[in-house]
Amino acid sequence: MKLPLLSMITFAPVLGILVISLIPRGKDMLIRRVATIFSALPFVFIVYVFTQFDFGAKKMQFIERIPWIKQVGIFYYMGIDGISIALLFVTGLLSIMAMLASWEIKERVKEYFTLMLFLETGMLGVFVALDYILFYIFWEITLVPMYFLIGIWGGPRREYAAIKFFIYTLLGSVLMLLAILALYFQADINSFSITQLWKAGRTFALAVQIPIFLGFYAGFAVKIPVFPFHTWLPDAHVEAPTAVSVLLAGVLLKLGGYGFFRIAMPSFPAAFERFVPWLVVLALINIIYGAYVAMAQRDLKKLVAYSSISHMGYILLGLVALNEAGLDGSMFQMVSHGLTTGMLFLLVGIIYSRTHTRLISELGGMQGKVPMLAGALAFDSMASLGLPGLSGFIGEFLVLVGVIMAAHLHPVFAVLAALNIVLTAGYLLWMIQRVSLGKIGEKLKSITDLSGFELAYLIPLIVLILLFGLYPTLLLNIFDVSVKNILTIMGG
């Protein structure tokens, strides 16, 4: 009998919730340990799946398909391809880092870790679900823990940020749900299977494809977030506790990009192509506007949040290139952005927990005081701004190549996106200059350098950023076949 590995990956954190519920309130240390162990279990399983995975196959693998509500064609249907497994890897890894970074939480510990584990299940589930209803369930259950994690353990304006996050994403997902239903009834094959509906969606007339595509677009664009739906992101990031920011930037934003790969593009290629001119402009607005706003930030965390908006623009830009280089670049950027921005948020959290400030003007001279922390920040900023040799470069480079190669896009878009790298370098280097160099800031008097515990969860990220930067084929090989497959499906 084959093990239901994908279910094990998805529901291991839920098992952790059950165990935690048995631990009495107040035994905080035990709760932290148990939660961390259970949050790491999915990663262990994912690594095992990696060893068994056939990276040359186009088909979905590790399929689990059990009838759920047969009358209406709902299945408990899970399966993964190269795209899912790459994102599962990031999710599993960042979940552990986020758990470790959460050990500093002192208030309502039991509830906190319960919600974190619940969030992990939701995120993992989205990447393995192949039935629309199952997909939507996982998609939506990430909302509730996020609301509470921001609302209870967040900063001063936490309630506003939490409700804003909830409203935006719920609006997006309700429209997506209506699109799912429209797709289901329009296809009329009594199936909610994502892969089966690929074929059906393509056959719809353009006039039918467009409204359904727009419904999905609303759901995905809010998550990415694409301008003008992005305003919830800076608020949520600034107020969220560190670990939640890490998962928000590292994984939750990727759900939107993943939605394009898994659903919007293969199901509605004609509608997608129809909107390419719009999407390319929106992607560039994200990239350039995000960078400019990041430059103007005085709060370190807000700066990273806006840089996320800018970087996520590249993902959308790669998609609209509609060729292998572009899509590969998008995927690469998703993984790389998860690692680099996840790490940036970890570092900002570390700085904040020591200095109780995130204002750039109150920091300064970290290089002399805390060389390791400053070094990690500098390294990660370099990776984020796309220094060759680090992972950020490859993703953006491939996206640009994709745009240049795309016959339907004017090369000027690539030029604009490329010029933006200068802006990115501008705000990140300027930030480094103000934070790490110069006079030692007021609040830095008693700052201490990275502890062994913190190094333990930062080093794996540093290694991966270097590894994927120097040897990108390693990562590209994981999803390249699946990306090609998506393109073949889109081509008919």
Binding site: I69, K70, Q71, V72, R108, E111, I133, Y136, I137, E140, I141, L143, V144, Y147, F148, G151, I152, R158, E159, I163, F166, I167, L170, L171, V174, L175, L177, L178, L181, A182, Y184, F185
Partner: protein, 471 residues
Amino acid sequence: MHLHLELVAPEIVIAALAIATLSLDLIIPKNQRAFIPYLSILGLGGALVISIMQIGNWGMALNKAFASDPLTAFVRIASIGLILLVILASLRSSTSVGREGEYYGLLLFSLLGALVMAASADLITLYLGLELSALPAYVLVAFQKHRLKSGEAALKYFLIGLFASLMLVYGMSLVFGFTGEIEFKAIAKHLKEGQDALILAIFLLLGGFGFKITAFPFHFWAPDAYDGASAPIAAYLAAILKLAAFAAVLRVFLWALPAVQADWKIWFAVLAYVTMTAGNLMALPQKNIKRLLAYSSISQAGYALIGLGTTTQLAFGYMLFFIFTYMIGTVGAFLVVAACSTRREADEIDDYKGLAQRNPLLALSMLIFLLSLIGIPPLAGFMGKLFLFGAAIEGGKLGLALAGGINTVISMGYYVRIMKVIYLDKPKEPTFPRIPASLRWGVYLAAFATIAVGIFYGPFLDLSRQAGRLF
């Protein structure tokens, strides 16, 4: 005469139980009546088992006055299942203690009326059921004699209910006058299009039923009545009586008046739009939790009306399923309200501050009910909305589905506000008073049902689809 009493077995059991309960009140001394509710639970459990066993055994009973069909079965199972929770919540509550005979007797009579109304196949049976369900309900609202609000609410509810009944009777008499028939399906045969005065009958029926299902603008009594009643009774009004009224609407409009469908179809769509929107907008500023839940139940009735507005068999079926999921969430929420007001009345939303720290399990249950009412998967309410909106799309009513979706987002505003107060705010007092075990387990049972129905909804969906195909 074709009585077919076996098809009416659950109703007979409930009728016997109601009479027995009321009579025991006369014989048993006041301090020994505590067993009465347990007797009711036992009897209702029996009725529930019979109802489930009778699935598939369809037919007309009581000389074609009573239809035992999938709709009847659906209403029976949903209503009896949920009234058990209402009874669990009422055990040991100060409202019913010492007056068990009256309280449970009235509740059972009202339930009997609701079931008869939902199963009626002619106008007379319908009206009998309607009145039998309503009259005890007026008394139940007034049951908290020491509360000023209770009497006031009961009087309002009574007068408005009376008005609604009169509208219905007048409408029915017009229908009877035109056709000379009381049986729904016979009426349909004699009904011809183009009779102008029938429009009046349709409007009277729409208005009368509008009151019963709290459709805007006939909704205004609900917040007062729910606020004045004890929380378990409010749950009963919001859930069981509403389901029965929806079932009756299906029977009257689809069985008796299909010939003039063009005249009433559009109005259900209009009612759906305005009811869900108005209910949600009015719920937003509420400060009292019972009034908030009342407006929530109005808006949920608006979603349910999408089913009637779509007017396809699939939509009717999924509407019933949606109402069932709504009932679980609403009854659960009212049970939590009952639990929070056991010691002293604490119905202001501010009284729920920090409930998560005072009583985590109660808070978690409330969270589950609220999320289900919003429609967050994988809870029951999500599945309800999923299929209902799906049926609207299938029936080509994109506007209704979209309005339902947007209203879902609006409704989040007030549901999340309660969640915020419970989880994010600091408690005023650290401890929570002890609540009766039966009430506590009633809440947990409802929370469990909310999750279980969200995952294993197949049998309910089947039955509701069968019910939808009757029309």
